[in-house]
Amino acid sequence: MAGKTLFDKIWDIHEVKTIEDGPSVLYIDRHLVHEVTSPQAFAGLKARGIKVFRPQNTFATPDHNIPTINQHLPIADEVSRFQVDTLTKNCEENDVTLFGLGHPKNGVVHVVGPENGITQPGMTIVCGDSHTSTHGAFGSIAFGIGTSEVEMVLSTQCIMQPRPKTMKINIDGELGKGVSAKDLVLYVISKLTTGGGTGYFVEFSGSAIRNLSMEGRMTVCNMSIEMGARGGLIAPDEKTIEYVKGREYAPKGADWDKTVEKWKALVTDEDAEFDKIYNFDAADIEPMITYGTNPGMGVGITQNIPTLDTVEEASQKTYLKSLEYMGYAPGEKMLGKKVDWIFVGSCTNGRIEDIRAFANAVKGKKKADGVTAWIVPGSHQVEDQVIAEGLRDILEEAGFELRQPGCSACLAMNDDKVPAGKYSVATSNRNFEGRQGPGSRTLLAGPLTAAACAVTGVITDPRTL
């Protein structure tokens, strides 16, 4: 009998039961909750007259719909305030731990989980947010769910889930200078397309993945949903263990040693079989930028927008619609195109390493005239570290202002909206039409590319800065 993949090992342990020709009942170790996708689920519990089944496994933080300035003041928008207050009330009524607005642990849910040791290897982790895949960086099965499923987990700590197929994406070799984890994953998505991972759970492996920091691994797993995959994971190693060690909710003392032993067994067996395997060479990857309206529409920054003859005939209408929205034409080169806005932040690239990379790249330079830049830390802990490392001073000297933590312009639910028609180079995860505000045009990139564009005002190769 063939060995098991890491995914299969974790899934099997968490299967409470299976239903013939149906989904599995999957036990969930950690349920992360935010204000936008939970109120209807809590209302469902109330209608049934029940409370949260395992509040000790449930952690909540508002992030999507909060302002990133003046967080000490009441939220000005009444509807947003009510949504955030509803989360507070629901958590109080159900004894759920809440890192509310202004709490030192508040931040973007997928930054907060790892930095507090809530996220651990071998776990099943869900949240009503597709970028829950981020937590897979620790060797856990983590994926986004809808509100009906949030209600399932709140009421029974389980979810009904069909078992996905498994895919391995192996990337060997060394990333070049100026090439980040974000570029790596944008490259992979550009090869697989936005639907290429649909139906699969991905394991990322290979030396290029092993060499990434935990922050970089989180960026890669975070974006696995952008190729349609249910989630992505990376086997834990010494880096993973070192990252989790000592964090507030991590195991302690003798329990720690015992748990670490279990984590060390979290690997894919050598003879395990995947339903699909892709291999890439890290040396082929250059800094990436997107030119269209889904994350699969990306190219190396020195490349041109693909010409129409490279697109399947049935897809050409959609392709042209996308380029028309962006104000681009097939065959144009990306370098030198105008940039109006810079957004550094989100669950994809809002961690300390990202802001450090951006700050170091703009150090001693000046923000280009006409560029508006929002630097939004992923959490208060990230914000505190940015200040402690002196990065805020570097940013301010270069003309950049640090905002308060939140999802911000990644999805523009709050006031952080890019105006219609403006070009925004964003370190976030989606370049869909209107994603950063109605009519906004988003170009996804890594923090180094964002820095290069911020100081020049045009699309610029960070290797030439």
Partner: protein, 194 residues
Amino acid sequence: MPINKFITLESTYVPLPIENVDTDQIIPARFLKATTKEGFGDNLFADWRYNKDGSPKADFVLNNPDYSGSVLVAGKNFGSGSSREHAAWAVDGYGFKVVVSSFFADIFRNNSLNNGVLPVVISEAFLADLFAAGADNTVVVNLEEQTITNKANGKTESFDINSYKKNCLLNGFDDIDYLMSVKDEIEAYEQDRA
């Protein structure tokens, strides 16, 4: 909580021949501030459907009186992006009971099923025929038989759905009722693992 029971239907359909329709198009994020499930249908495809001043955009299919029905037919990879169930609530709230495409994003498909909206996966050729037919064409969707028929050319295809979910849709059962009914087994599982 019983969800809408799915009944076999014959209907005209609304064609949306665009690929990779993402959840931000189905329901833009600024409409996610609500704390109930109602009212999202009015903002389905809001940025394609309305001008800035709220007036309807004449060239969008939902504003074309020639097209109507309880079936939405969309290009491949429908529903990619966010996990927001608001997308399924918007589709349901507008009055669509079935979404037909050659490919669906995973989370959207799950969310639809959990709201009694049936995602039907068909071949590219079947999809192209539906787009090519006139506005008065109808499809017949039979969940019991797992078939969809294009009345314009009489062609029928079968579609996949697991028997558990099919049973849920036919009877209006929901997953939470099921999970509540196996709570003893869940507690036993917790004991075993501890």
